[in-house]
């Protein structure tokens, strides 16, 4: 068995050493941050310090509501925002899509770009991903925010994939984040709120916006992960260019090739070979990739993201996702390409 090669960083990325150290320190300070005694106040001080550092690392001037993750942050936003109706991006991750009752969707273009309606109704809450988790396509949320605000509507940006990698859309009203996509622990995320009066409070912790005992050690890990250096992103951009040249040379097709995409995420179609067969072959070779986002990969239903882009069910079922992160190496790409070529030439029925 060769060493494991992990190219599924968009599903979750390994804990950064800085986050690990910070959490170990947090474990030693286990008091309840809401307790009034000295032990509780010490835990509170660490929690509030982490909150401040999270805001500073993200350049965010508004409030930070800590949640159990991005799904929770989006649930708080959708449940509490003072909005009359909701419009979700066609390619938004399931957390934004599966609403009760199913929200109307925004239109999308073939390159994966979201299209805002010509007439925006005041009081609408737009829920749009900054970076799509399957294709890596980046939406121009700051310019969207201008149009949305001009019409008296609100923007909720799902920045689970982009936070720590791209500047956040600072003009957004609400931003949902997850720590484990950027090298922090699973189990914590945040809702960034430009102005708390945009939300109706429910009571309990987090200024009444998210009840439950605060997980301070996870907050320390989240802050440390955001403060870690991002030098690796430059290398990843270079490696992906090489990866995509190799995929195309071997007969592969790149999803949303000409759209602006985050350097860490790429989706590729291998004509004639199902994604399921590819995943098994890659896994046997010690390479972890995925078909679509992890939460739906167990269910094997066709990706809604690709169908929104006008891809047929057949082509969609041949697409895999390759995502890089802070501990990726150039050698991972070489190993992936070698395996891609082996599968493409060995399995294709031509």
């Amino acid at each position: 068995m060769t060493a494991r090669i992990y190219l599924d960083h968009a599903a979750t990325t390994p804990l950064l050493p800085q986050a690990r150290t910070a959490m170990l320190e947090g474990f030693a300070q286990w008091a309840n941050p809401s307790s009034p005694h000295a032990a509780g106040r010490a835990a509170r001080a660490l929690l509030e310090d982490a909150r401040g550092r999270i805001a500073r690392a993200l350049g965010w001037g508004g409030s930070v509501i800590l949640t159990s993750g991005a799904s929770d942050a989006i649930a708080v936003a959708l449940g509490r925002a003072k909005a009359a109706r909701l419009l979700a991006g066609e390619t938004a991750h399931d957390a934004g899509l599966r609403l009760v009752p199913a929200a109307p969707r925004l239109g999308g273009g073939a390159a994966g770009q979201v299209i805002l309606p010509d007439a925006i109704e005041a009081g609408t809450l737009f829920a749009i991903q900054q970076v799509n988790s399957e294709t890596g396509v980046i939406q121009p949320l700051d310019s969207f925010a201008e149009r949305i605000h001009a019409a008296g509507a609100l923007l909720l940006a799902d920045c689970s994939q982009s936070a720590g990698k791209l500047p956040l859309p600072q003009a957004a009203d609400l931003i949902a984040l997850s720590a484990h996509k950027l090298g922090g622990p699973i189990g914590i995320g945040a809702l960034l709120v430009r102005d708390l009066t945009l939300l109706r409070p429910a009571g309990g912790q987090e200024q009444g916006y998210r009840a439950g005992t605060e997980a301070m050690p996870l907050a320390l890990g989240f802050a440390a992960a955001l403060e870690a250096p991002r030098d690796w992103l430059r290398d990843v951009a270079e490696w992906r260019a090489r990866l995509e040249a190799g995929v195309k040379a071997a007969g592969g097709e790149i999803v949303a090739e000409r759209a602006p995409r985050l350097a860490t995420i790429g989706s590729y179609r291998m004509p004639g070979v199902s994604a399921q067969a590819q995943l098994i072959r890659f896994d046997m070779a010690g390479i972890a990739i995925s078909a679509g986002s992890a939460c739906s990969s167990g269910s094997l239903r066709p990706s809604h993201v690709l169908s929104a882009m006008g891809w047929g069910a057949g082509a969609t079922s041949e697409v895999v996702r390759v995502t890089m992160g802070h501990d990726s190496r150039a050698a991972d790409i070489d190993a992936f390409l070698a395996q891609w070529q082996a599968i493409a030439t060995g399995t294709r029925k031509t």
Binding site: S34, S35, P185, G204, G286
Partner: protein, 368 residues
């Protein structure tokens, strides 16, 4: 620091910390189909089995959540919404935790009628009152096994029998009792890791077979569609080991708590005890003395961590709703302190804490 606030949260057990550090390296997403995902999923499933075993459950399902507050929200709101349209009453007790009370009251917005049953001076519900209120009009009964402020143990088996007779779903808040007392036989049971020497940020909801709850939070369909969001193998592993330890050490932990309780009763003999002396978990002592300013006492006795009531309500400045519910006046409630002890408390700590607290109480009377 002498820590006597075990109902607020508990220290991470060293065995739990070790399991969490080991799981930190299993970085796959438990929902991913590849090998690293399956390793992470194995952590989660092993933890699920360990918690089921500690609950004494062989059937039903266990859904991981971010904690008890979330588990209770899912259970109460979900159970109300799946009940038949004739059942519009949601019943709970006046002494419940805010995670239950506020959720029950919020159901008013969805057309339900919250019914808050009183408790007596001992903190216990009168079974005749309960039987009169729990009937075919009720969607659910939400009740706590061990009270988080005064440690009293409700007659939960009798309450469940009453509810079952009328087909009423029972949601049990077993947060304080899990690992210590037998699991109540409710339809839905909420627990959390950090009250039993596990990590903060993970809890669980056990569901009886045949109960299917609607999704409250929407997302990637994890946890059988009931609770979306990526699960943390690290937090789940920590919870699993905490539950297993509690099961393995149950007799030892309870004997230790019993010895501390006996000593504490003696040391605090000058204080009145809030809540029943008979139906009580002995790792909690909620006491008062006339004329004492408990908030001041807590800040005077700096080396001892005790509290006024639940940690979440501590900042509010309002007297505890639980102490009010058992009929204490505002001034009696404001002269009450809550102590909690357990596995890692020592006899010396109880002695020293009692001497510091008693001295501070005496001092208040002298300078009053």
């Amino acid at each position: 620091m002498i820590y006597l606030d075990y109902q607020a949260t508990t220290a991470l057990a060293p065995e739990v910390a070790a399991a969490m550090v080991a799981a930190m390296d299993h970085y796959g997403n438990p929902n991913s189909a590849h090998r690293l995902g399956r390793i992470a999923a194995a952590d989660v499933e092993l933890a699920r089995e360990r918690i089921m075993a500690a609950l004494g459950k062989s059937g039903g399902r266990l859904i991981f959540t971010s904690g008890a507050t979330e588990a209770l929200n899912i259970a109460i709101t979900g159970a109300a919404h799946i009940s038949s349209p004739q059942r519009r009453r949601v019943i709970t007790l006046a002494s419940e935790h805010h995670a239950v009370l506020d959720t029950v009251v919020a159901l008013r917005h969805d057309g339900f009628e919250p019914v808050i049953l009183p408790v007596d001076r001992d903190g216990l519900v009168d079974l005749d009152i309960a039987a009169a209120a729990i009937d075919e009009r009720a969607a659910l009964l939400a009740v706590m096994q061990v009270n988080n402020e005064i440690g009293v143990v409700q007659p939960i088996d009798a309450l469940i029998d009453i509810a079952r007779a009328s087909g009423v779903t029972v949601v049990c808040d077993a947060v304080q009792g899990f690992g210590k007392l037998p699991t109540p036989n409710g339809d839905l049971v909420a627990i959390t890791a950090h009250k039993m020497h596990g990590p903060k940020g993970v809890g669980a909801l056990w569901l009886r077979d045949g109960i299917d709850l609607p999704q409250l939070m929407h997302g990637g369909g994890q946890e059988q569609g009931i609770r979306p969001g990526t699960l943390s193998p690290m937090l789940c592993a920590g919870f699993g080991v905490a539950a297993q330890l509690a099961g393995d050490r149950r007799e030892m932990d309870l004997a230790h708590v019993e010895a501390l309780w006996a000593r504490a009763l003696h040391l605090f003999a000058d204080w009145e005890i809030n809540g029943s002396m008979q139906a009580r978990y002995h790792g909690n002592l909620n006491i008062r003395q006339p004329g004492i300013d408990a908030a001041r006492l807590i800040s005077d006795v700096r080396g001892v961590a005790v509290s006024l009531g639940s940690a979440c309500a501590s900042g509010s400045g309002k007297p505890s709703h639980v102490l009010k519910a058992i009929g204490l006046s505002d001034s009696e409630a404001r002269s009450s302190i809550r102590m909690g002890f357990g596995r890692y408390s020592t006899m010396d700590e109880i002695e020293e804490a009692a001497s510091l607290i008693n001295a501070a109480a005496e001092w208040q009377k002298v300078v009053a």
